[in-house]
């Protein structure tokens, strides 16, 4: 616009204002016009700043909601919310404006935030409401809130969704707990096996001295000596039980139907519980068979049911339940974790006295008992724990004081264990192997490990038989896998005879369930490789391959 034109436009404008306001003086009008100009500029600046704040409001990662107090500061109505806020709570701004916070978020009072709103509104003091779990029928998650009051009385909540962070922290905490638990159990196991040897020696001394006193005396003194001997025998009994816990017997595992094991338990053991304890079985169809020692499953059932009986004060119902479960990510509990996969779950449930939060961390510790002297040994649950560790399973529980307890025992599916040791990880071969062990179950296990890897297998159930089988398959056999300890001809002797027969040294891998067999002198003396029972499948496969390739 050219300056002249502009001048004219302004003059027209002033005239217009003069007409509307009834003021005549040009000075007056000019002054007024200036006020208007400034007002317009200020408005524009305000709009710009408003836009800037709006974009700030939206651009932050945090949720921001603005509220107006109603009911004298008892409740709050949504006036605004930013995009992150909509996203965090999965809600649209249009569905929310003008609504009460208690209506949109029915869990807000229980969550504890409503009280904070009321306080901030009343005092004007900002507050941080630390990370807590918000929950209602629609949304749920961990939230971190900061609440403050604007000068005009509006409330602002700035909040963050920390659910993922919280879950990661929780997983870490669980892992620490598990590690602590495992370390504790291991330490206790080592301690008890050491202590039991010491104790037996001490008790031998005491029994011996008491026996000498008894033999050298008569009457009351002899009787008292007899009393000492009897006490020592009781102490020895406790030590034996402790030892049974620390000494993990090599389990005789086979493919077991968990339901059958539970039914067998009912048939054989339940009558011993008396009439006032009723057992209810709830067995699921389609359970995966598990790879377990059946007698140890029974032991687990027995220990858990005895505890339920005690918790019920001898009267009530014990529910034995089985379920097929499958985890697609690691399953964590305070008592251990399980890798993803298929499991058969055994539950033993009672409505007895329950376990208090103070007792809970200790129930798997040896000698922890809440029962009276002579009633509880505190070794029932440690034994269960040990058995499940051996089975690569898990025992955990849920309980509330006064409301009963449910122990949950996870047994890995047999198919799962062979999968955990993928055949591809260790190369197999097509050689012929001669396996000898007097335990047919061991041969069965070896077959399951080695056959899928392509080996041809020949079996013998004694050292003598191994020599015989060798004679008739001399040319094919590339490797002997021999148990060291067999009745009659042991592994080492059988190996010597076979070498003699062959006129050369035949490759061999020895195995034994006795943990110090390596230091037994035999294998280390003849320098032949050795594998420890019970086997880790991949370890056996690896050793077999290594010896063949040596």
């Amino acid at each position: 616009m050219d300056p002249l034109e502009e001048e004219r436009a302004r003059a027209r404008y002033y005239q217009q204002i003069a007409q509307q306001t009834g003021r005549k003086s040009l000075q007056e009008i000019t002054a007024l016009a200036q006020v208007v100009e400034e007002h317009k500029k200020a408005l524009k600046a305000l709009q710009e700043s408003e836009a800037r704040y709006r974009s700030l409001f939206e651009a932050t990662g945090r949720g921001i909601a603005v509220y107006r107090a109603v009911d004298g500061g008892e409740d709050f109505v949504f006036e605004d919310i930013n995009k992150p806020g909509e996203r965090i709570d999965d809600i649209r701004k249009d569905d929310l404006i003008g609504k009460r916070v208690t209506e949109v978020f029915p869990g807000v009072e229980e969550f504890g935030l409503l009280a904070v709103f009321r306080r901030v509104w009343e005092t004007g003091q900002s507050e941080r409401y630390p990370v807590s779990l918000y929950k209602d029928g629609r949304v749920q998650g961990w939230r971190d809130n900061y609440v403050y009051k604007l000068p005009d009385g509006e409330l602002v909540a700035v909040y963050e969704d920390v659910t993922e962070k919280k879950q990661a922290e929780e997983a870490l905490r669980q892992k620490d707990l598990q590690l602590l638990h495992a370390q504790k159990m291991e330490a206790v196991g080592r301690l008890s096996s050491g202590v039991s040897h010491e104790f037996n020696n001490i008790l031998t001394g005491m029994v011996g001295l008491a026996t000498l006193i008894k033999r050298a005396s008569a009457g009351q003194v002899a009787e008292d000596a007899e009393g000492i001997i009897a006490s020592c025998k009781r102490a020895a009994d406790v030590v034996a039980r402790l030892k049974a816990f620390s000494q993990r017997r090599a389990a005789a595992k086979s493919v077991v139907d968990l339901n059958k094991a539970v039914e067998e338990f009912r048939r054989l053991a339940v009558p011993g519980f008396g009439e006032r304890i009723r057992f209810e079985l709830d067995l699921a169809q389609g359970l995966d068979p598990v790879w377990a020692d059946a007698s140890q499953i029974e032991q687990v059932l027995m220990n858990l049911c005895l505890n339920s009986q005690d918790a019920l004060g001898g009267v009530g119902v014990v529910t034995l339940r089985t379920r097929a479960v499958s985890f697609d990510k690691p399953f964590r509990s305070p008592h251990g974790a399980l890798p993803p996969g298929r499991y058969a779950l055994l539950q033993v449930e009672d409505a007895g006295k329950g376990i208090s939060p103070e007792e809970a961390p200790h129930v798997f510790e040896p000698f922890f008992t809440t029962k009276g002297p002579g009633e509880g040994s505190g070794l029932g649950l440690p034994v269960v724990y040990g058995i499940l560790s051996d089975h690569e399973g898990l025992v955990t529980f849920e309980s509330e004081r006064g409301k009963g307890a449910r122990f949950e025992v996870y047994w890995p599916a047999a198919s799962e264990l062979s999968r955990r040791a993928p055949a591809a990880a260790v190369p197999g071969g097509t050689e012929t192997l001669l396996l000898a062990d007097d335990e047919p179950t061991v041969l069965g296990i070896l077959q399951r490990i080695l056959e899928p890897r392509g080996y041809r297998l020949l079996f013998a159930e004694s050292g003598e038989q191994a020599v015989k089988v060798y004679r008739s398959h001399k040319e094919e056999i590339a490797l002997l896998v021999l148990d060291i300890v067999m009745p009659g001809l042991g592994g080492c002797e059988a190996h010597a005879l076979i070498c003699e027969e062959a006129g050369r040294k035949v490759k061999v891998l020895f195995m034994s369930g006795y943990s110090t067999a390596q230091s037994m002198g035999r294998c280390s003396e003849c320098g032949e490789p050795f594998v420890q029972k019970p086997f880790q499948p991949e370890e056996v496969a690896r050793q077999v391959r290594a010896v063949l390739d040596a």
Partner: protein, 121 residues
Amino acid sequence: MSARLLVVDDEEVIRQVLSRMMVPKGFEVRCASSAEEALALLEKEAFDVILLDNVLPGMTGLRALGEILARSRAPVVMMTGHFDPEFQKDARLLGASAFVAKPLDFDVLEGEIRKLVPEKR
């Protein structure tokens, strides 16, 4: 001539109790507190029965058993802790003659010893 017993145990009180218990029963008792000491004794003397603790300092029970059997023809009674079938199987295969559990029942022990030296008594 009385039967000769060798007690191998690192626990002083057990050695003492065993000799005080067996001497009045007509045995001659010698003691060793370690496998090495026992082996040294076996180089010089002969025994009718050897009582061997299965946990000794410096050598596993099975190893000690093997070494002893390599130097002596006397039957060996293993004194073990709690009953452990794997261990017994291995020890029996190595040549142990009998097992008694600790804490010792001295009547049972005496019975086992007498079974092994019948012709001497």
